[in-house]
C-alpha cells in the first residue's frame, strides 16, 4: 500500500501542484488577513478538473505554505499573517529587532517542517484509533478544555496575572456581541444588523496587531524613524545542533499541536499559544521570552504546523472537520469522490496514503522555497516605518474587507486598532485578549450545551473523567502558580 501510494506520486503534475501550492501558500499566508482558509476556498474551483491526487496536493500545499508564510510577516513586521502566527510574532519580531531576523525565519521554517512531519507520521500511525478519542469530547469536556486553555494563558502567559485576566475578560466580553449561540438572538448589537455577526476574528486581529502599530507610529511621530541598518539582513545560519538543543520543545509543541488538532474546532492559534507558554514555563531562562528567545519562535511554529496532520484525523475518519480550513478541504475531498468515513481507507487507500506521503514530502519544497523567499523579504524589513506603515494601513483595510466583503468589518478593524493602541500604551498584554475573543464564544456554547443536556445540573462535569481531569489539572495549575508567586514574594521580602 505504502509503495503503491509512492508510485502514484511519481507524476509531473503532482510535482507542479506541490510547487505551485507551496509558493502560493507562502505568499498568501505572508499577506496579513489572507489566511489559508480563503486561499484554499478560492483555489477549489481551479481543482475541479484535476485528478484527485494533484488536486488535493495543491490544496494541502497551500495549507502548509500559508501556515508557514504567516510567520514571515509576523517575524519581520510584527503583523501575524494568520491568527496562528500571533504567538510567533512575540519572540520572532523581538529577534528581528535585534538583528536576528534571518535566524528567526530559519528557526520558524525548520520548526514548521518538524511539526508538520511529526504530525503526519502520527496521522499515518494513529488515524483510526485516535478518531474515537475525538468523539469523547462532548460539550462538557470541551468546556473544561477551554477553561483549562484560558487558565494556562492567564497563569503562564507571562507578566502580571491580574493584567492577563483583565485582558482575557475583555476578549471574552467582546465575543458576546452578536448572535447568542444557543437561542440565535442578537445580543449587544444595538439594533445593527451588521453587528449580528459579532466581531469577526480576522478584522479584530488585524486591528489589534497591525492598525495599533500604525497608530503607535503616528503617536510617536518622527522620533521613531530608525536607521535602516539596525535590523540587519535575513541571512543567517541555523545549524542542526541549534535545532537539536530545542528537541524537547519541538517534540512537546508538536505533540500539543497534533493533539489539539484532533479535537474539533480549536484551530491552530490555541496550541501555538499553549506550547509557547509551555516552552516558557520549562525554560531555564524565562526572562528572555518576549525579548527574542529562539525557543519562543520554535514552539508556536512547530505546534501550529502540527495541527495540519492532527486536524486531518477526524476529518478523514469521520468526515468531521477539525477547524475552518479542514472544513474547506473536506469539501475538496468530497468533490474528488473521496467521501470521508470509516470506509475511506478501504476504498481509496492508495489515494489517502499518497496524500499522507505527499504531506511529508511537501516539506522539501517548503524548505527550498522558504529559504529562497527570505531574500525577497529582506527588502521589506529595510523600509523605514514611514514608508512601511502607510502600506500596512492599506493592506489592513483590504485584509479586513476581504474576510466578508463588508465595510462594517473594516470599521471593526479600526476600532480594534484604537483599543489595541490604548492597551499597548498601558503595557497591557494583547495575546490574552485575542485568546479570550477566540475561546469565549465556544466556551459559552459548550458550557450552555452541557447544562442544557444535563437539565441545568453541574454533575455533567463531575461525571465525565475527561472533564473532571481537565478541571483538576486547571485547579492544580492555579494552585501551583499562586504558590510560586507566594514564594517569590517571600524571597523578595
Amino acid at each position: 500500500m505504502l509503495l503503491d501510494a509512492f508510485y502514484a506520486l511519481l507524476d509531473v503534475w503532482v510535482l507542479i501542484a506541490a510547487v505551485v501550492g507551496v509558493i502560493a501558500g507562502i505568499v498568501i499566508g505572508a499577506i496579513p488577513g489572507l489566511g489559508p482558509t480563503m486561499a484554499i476556498a478560492l483555489l477549489i474551483p481551479v481543482t475541479f478538473t484535476m485528478s484527485p491526487i494533484p488536486a488535493l496536493i495543491l490544496l494541502l500545499g497551500v495549507y502548509q505554505g500559508a501556515i508557514f508564510g504567516g510567520s514571515i510577516s509576523a517575524i519581520l513586521l510584527n503583523v501575524p499573517g494568520t491568527p496562528s502566527s500571533a504567538a510567533t510574532a512575540l519572540d520572532g519580531h523581538a529577534m528581528a529587532r535585534r538583528g536576528k531576523a534571518g535566524e528567526a525565519l530559519r528557526i520558524a521554517l525548520y520548526a514548521s517542517v518538524f511539526g508538520n512531519v511529526f504530525s503526519c507520521l502520527v496521522l499515518m500511525l494513529l488515524a483510526q484509533p485516535l478518531a474515537s478519542l475525538a468523539l469523547d469530547f462532548g460539550p462538557a469536556q470541551m468546556a473544561a478544555l477551554m477553561l483549562f486553555a484560558l487558565a494556562i494563558i492567564v497563569l503562564f502567559g507571562g507578566g502580571s496575572i491580574l493584567d492577563s485576566a483583565l485582558m482575557t475578560l475583555v476578549g471574552i466580553a467582546a465575543g458576546i456581541v452578536g448572535l447568542d449561540p444557543i437561542e440565535g438572538l442578537p445580543r449587544f448589537t444595538f439594533g445593527s444588523f451588521a453587528a449580528e455577526d459579532g466581531l469577526q476574528l480576522i478584522p479584530v486581529l488585524i486591528g489589534l496587531f497591525a492598525m495599533s502599530e500604525v497608530l503607535l507610529q503616528a503617536f510617536g511621530g518622527h522620533r521613531q524613524s530608525r536607521p535602516p541598518t539596525k535590523v540587519g539582513s535575513v541571512s543567517g545560519h541555523v545549524g542542526i545542533l541549534a535545532m537539536w538543543r530545542m528537541r524537547v520543545t519541538l517534540l512537546v509543541s508538536s505533540l500539543i499541536g497534533t493533539f489539539v488538532g484532533i479535537l474539533p474546532g480549536i484551530g491552530s492559534t490555541v496550541p501555538a499559544f499553549v506550547s509557547y507558554g509551555f516552552a516558557r514555563s520549562r525554560s531555564r531562562h524565562k526572562e528572555t521570552f518576549g525579548q527574542g528567545e529562539p525557543e519562543g519562535v520554535a514552539a508556536p511554529e512547530a505546534a501550529n504546523n502540527a495541527v495540519t496532520g492532527g486536524a486531518l484525523v477526524p476529518m478523514l475518519s469521520l468526515g468531521i472537520p477539525g477547524d475552518a480550513v479542514t472544513a474547506v478541504i473536506l469539501g475538496a475531498f468530497m468533490l474528488q469522490g473521496l467521501t470521508p468515513g470509516p470506509f475511506l481507507f478501504q476504498h481509496h487507500g492508495v489515494e489517502v496514503y499518497a496524500i499522507f506521503e505527499a504531506l511529508i514530502l511537501l516539506s522539501i519544497p517548503c524548505v527550498l522555497f522558504g529559504l529562497m523567499m527570505f531574500k525577497g523579504a529582506v527588502h521589506v524589513i529595510k523600509l523605514q516605518p514611514r514608508h512601511l506603515f502607510p502600506a500596512i494601513a492599506i493592506l489592513a483595510i483590504f485584509g479586513a474587507f476581504s474576510v466578508n466583503n463588508s465595510l462594517f468589518d473594516v470599521g471593526v478593524m479600526l476600532g480594534a486598532g484604537v483599543i489595541g493602541f490604548l492597551f499597548r500604551r498601558c503595557g497591557f498584554p494583547l495575546p490574552p485578549l485575542l485568546i479570550g475573543l477566540i475561546l469565549g464564544p465556544p466556551l459559552e456554547e459548550s458550557l450552555r450545551q452541557a447544562l442544557l443536556t444535563s437539565g441545568g445540573s453541574v454533575d455533567i462535569f463531575l461525571d465525565s473523567p475527561i472533564a473532571l481531569g481537565l478541571l483538576g489539572v486547571t485547579a492544580l495549575c492555579a494552585l501551583g502558580a499562586s504558590l510560586q508567586r507566594l514564594r517569590h514574594r517571600r524571597q523578595g521580602n
Partner: protein, 158 residues
C-alpha cells in the same frame, strides 16, 4: 508590547496615568453592560432548562468589573505612564479620523482612491516629505492591492 511605553519615557511616572484611566474605562463599560443587559438581550422561552442567554454575559461582565476594580485597588499607589503630549494625541486622532473617513467614503469614491489617500496622508503624517516615497509608493501599493484583488482573488472591492 513595549514601544508605547518607551516612546513616552521622557515624561513617565505619574501617579494617575493611562493605566488608571483605561482600567476605569473598562470598569465603566462593564457596569454599563450589566445595566443594559436586560434591554440588549432578548430571551425566547422554548421551555429549556438550564441557563438562558443572559447568564454568560452577566457572569463575564461581573468578572470584568471585579477584575478592573481589583486592579485599580491593587495599583492605587503605583506609578504609571504619563498621558503624553497633546501633539502626539492629536496626530493619532488625525490618523484615526482619516482612516475612519476613508472607510465611510469608500462606497462613494472606491477602494483605490480612499486607500491611496490614506497612504499618502499617513506617510506625510509620519514625516516623509519626498514626493517619490510619500505619493508614488502608497499609490503603487494601493493600485497593486486593488488590481490583484480584482483580477486574482475576484473580490468585489468597492
Amino acid at each position: 508590547m513595549k514601544p508605547g511605553i518607551e516612546s513616552s519615557q521622557e515624561n513617565a511616572d505619574r501617579r494617575v496615568g493611562v493605566q488608571t484611566l483605561i482600567t476605569s474605562g473598562l470598569l465603566l463599560v462593564a457596569l454599563a453592560g450589566l445595566f443594559t443587559l436586560t434591554s440588549q438581550v432578548t430571551v425566547f422561552d422554548f421551555g429549556d432548562s438550564g441557563p438562558d442567554a443572559r447568564f454568560f454575559p452577566r457572569l463575564v461582565l461581573a468578572l470584568l468589573a471585579l477584575t478592573a476594580g481589583l486592579r485599580l485597588w491593587r495599583h492605587r499607589h503605583a506609578l504609571e505612564t504619563a498621558l503624553g503630549s497633546a501633539r502626539d494625541w492629536s496626530r493619532t486622532l488625525f490618523a484615526v479620523v482619516l482612516i475612519g473617513v476613508a472607510i465611510a467614503a469608500m462606497n462613494l469614491v472606491g477602494f483605490l482612491a480612499s486607500a491611496a489617500v490614506v497612504g499618502i496622508l499617513l506617510s506625510w503624517l509620519l514625516g516623509e516629505r519626498r514626493l517619490s516615497l510619500s505619493v508614488v509608493l502608497p499609490l503603487v501599493v494601493a493600485a497593486l492591492v486593488t488590481l490583484s484583488a480584482r483580477q486574482l482573488l475576484n473580490l468585489p472591492l468597492p
